[in-house]
């Protein structure tokens, strides 16, 4: 009763988000009109749009730069996260021995790691990618590892009976079975990607001209209290996030629609 329509890409599904979007916009206007908040606190939506258009060249070049960092960082997170998960799920000693240090890496404040990262990778896109990776990879690792370790016992027995090699088990059993977890982690990582890239930008980015990403733009707008433009920049960053989440959703739909409960209608 609460499953999305099976098998067809839910273009219709744009109806609900749009309805909610309009409601949120109305609420926003109401808050601006009657909330008595000054523009530097809560700018009206049309002001955000206007300032966004006004700053369009800056936003556009920031968007391109950050998008580039996001693509690299997300790709690195997916590849690195997947490999790490496979390593972690490959044996008990790897899991018990390595997982704590993966966790520690994740929990190290970036502010502590940043100097080391920049010394190793130099200022700019490489370091931003590393920082984005550090922020994004863990959800993928945690989810995929859990997925890889949650294999149905009977299916595992089947592969044992057919003397499947570890690589075969991985490829034909564990990875397909872990996909629902993997995609969930991927979705979290995708949502973190613009945040990671923005943060990386403010820590390790280049702030001049075409090399300034949205992180830089956001900090500058913020420090100059250009609040409508700041919101415009933030929404621009969100747009990148939606792009990634959308891609992940598409991929997930494509891979799971035929068999996983989350995509099946109630029948059959």
């Amino acid at each position: 009763m609460n499953k999305p329509a099976a098998k067809s890409l839910p273009w219709r599904a744009l109806a609900w988000p749009s309805a909610f979007g309009i409601a949120m916009l109305a609420l926003w206007y109401a808050a601006v009109l009657w909330g008595g908040l000054p523009e530097y606190q809560l700018p009206a939506p049309h002001r955000v749009v206007a300032e966004g258009l006004n700053e369009a060249p800056t936003l556009w070049s920031g968007l391109l730069q950050t998008l580039y960092a996001c693509v690299l960082g997300f790709t690195a997170s997916v590849a690195g996260g997947l490999l790490l998960s496979i390593l972690l799920a490959s044996s008990n000693w790897a899991y018990q021995g390595i997982y704590p240090y993966v966790l520690m890496l994740k929990m190290m404040p970036i502010i502590v790691l940043a100097p080391i990262i920049i010394i190793w990778f130099g200022q700019g896109i490489a370091s931003i990618t590393v920082i984005t990776f550090l922020i994004c990879f863990f959800p993928i690792v945690a989810n995929t590892t859990m997925g890889l370790r949650s294999i149905d016992r009977d299916l595992a027995a089947l592969f044992q009976v057919y003397a499947a090699t570890p690589a075969q088990s991985l490829l034909h059993l564990r990875i397909p079975a872990a996909l629902p977890y993997f995609f969930t982690g991927l979705k979290v990582a995708a949502a973190l990607t613009p945040i990671g890239a923005l943060y990386g930008d403010t820590v390790a980015g280049m702030g001049s001209g075409s090399q300034a990403g949205l992180g830089f733009v956001v900090v500058i707008f913020s420090s100059q209290l250009k609040v409508p433009a700041l919101y415009a920049a933030a929404f621009t960053a969100c747009a990148i996030g939606f792009l990634f989440v959308g891609l992940v959703n598409l991929l997930s739909w494509w891979a799971l629609r035929r068999w996983h409960e989350s995509y099946l209608g109630e029948e059959a």
Binding site: D154, L155, A157, L158, F159, Q160, V161, Y162, A163, A164, Q168, H172, L173, P176, A177, L179, R258, W259, H260, L264, A268
Partner: protein
């Protein structure tokens, strides 16, 4: 329904020998599967099997029959090396059970299909794991699906199949590789009598080509008599061999076999000994 091109076991050179040559049991041969004093206790508390002694020469078709929960499935898993015994010794093909993996076909009590593969790909899976080329895989899988009467639904996913159809996919999968040893856990339990009988016959027909040694679990005495060269009746709590009964009906067996007076006598006899089994749980 005898189809051409059924897969032959690749490891045996003498697959072309006359089918009837298989029927007499090679009693002199060393056992292909041997269990001596095998016991299994779960979690140190539940003693499931105790003192199981069984020896299967090559070519034997052993039927396991016994009350629900007496340990039949566990016994199959022990032979397949999926579960480790708590006591005793198990030798399969001269080594530990785990070493025999890859020569096995196993039909689990649940169909145990991969939900993300359609019927055809599920059947083709073990061939893929053995490295068979793609064309061969698809051809064999199709033939196997055909044999179990599912040639119309190769692209159905497990969730789109009925319970009995899923079990038949599972049977097709186990037979696809032409295994040396076949372990079948109530393979036909979810099927109607006609489908069941015809699959029984199909199985015996296939055996003449593939010559596996098999252990199968069934709750149908007549099926046990029809298919097996020996029946082991198990008792429960803990599971142990209550009686074994050699079934000397001649091979090849066909639908006609069921009409023989010997057949009925054997069914009645096994049924009787089953009624005497202690440890019935209901």
């Amino acid at each position: 329904m005898g189809r051409p091109g059924l897969p032959e076991r690749p490891t045996r050179a003498d697959a072309g020998a006359s089918p009837t040559a298989v029927a007499p049991l090679d009693r002199g041969q060393p056992a292909l599967i041997e269990l001596a004093g095998v016991g299994k206790t779960f979690d140190g508390r539940t003693k499931v099997l105790d003192g199981i002694d069984l020896a299967l020469p090559r070519g034997e078709l052993l039927a396991l029959i016994g009350p629900s929960g007496c340990g039949k499935s566990t016994l199959l898993k022990l032979i397949a090396g999926l579960v480790r015994q708590s006591a005793g010794r198990i030798v399969v093909g001269g080594g530990a059970p785990a070493e025999a993996e890859g020569k096995l076909g196993f039909v689990f009590q649940d169909a145990n299909l991969l939900p993300w593969l359609n019927a055809l790909d599920n059947v083709a899976l073990p061939l893929k794991l053995m490295g068979a080329p793609k064309a061969k895989r698809r051809q064999t899988a199709r033939e196997m699906l055909d044999m179990v009467g599912l040639s119309r639904v190769p692209d159905h996913y497990p969730r789109e199949l009925s319970g009995g159809m899923r079990m038949r996919v599972s049977i097709a999968r186990a037979l696809a590789t032409g295994p040396e040893i076949l372990l079948l856990d109530e393979p036909f339990g979810a099927l109607d009598e006609m489908t069941r009988n015809s699959l029984n016959e199909e199985l015996l027909r296939l055996r003449e080509q593939q010559r596996w040694t098999a252990v199968f679990v069934t709750h149908s005495v007549s099926e046990a008599v029809f298919l097996s060269s020996r029946i082991a009746v198990l008792a429960a709590n803990p599971g142990r061999v209550h009686t074994t009964k050699r079934i000397d009906l001649p091979f090849p067996r066909t639908a006609r076999t069921r009409e023989l007076p010997d057949f009925h006598a054997l069914v009645a006899e096994v049924t009787r000994s089953l009624h005497n089994v202690p440890g019935q749980t209901a």
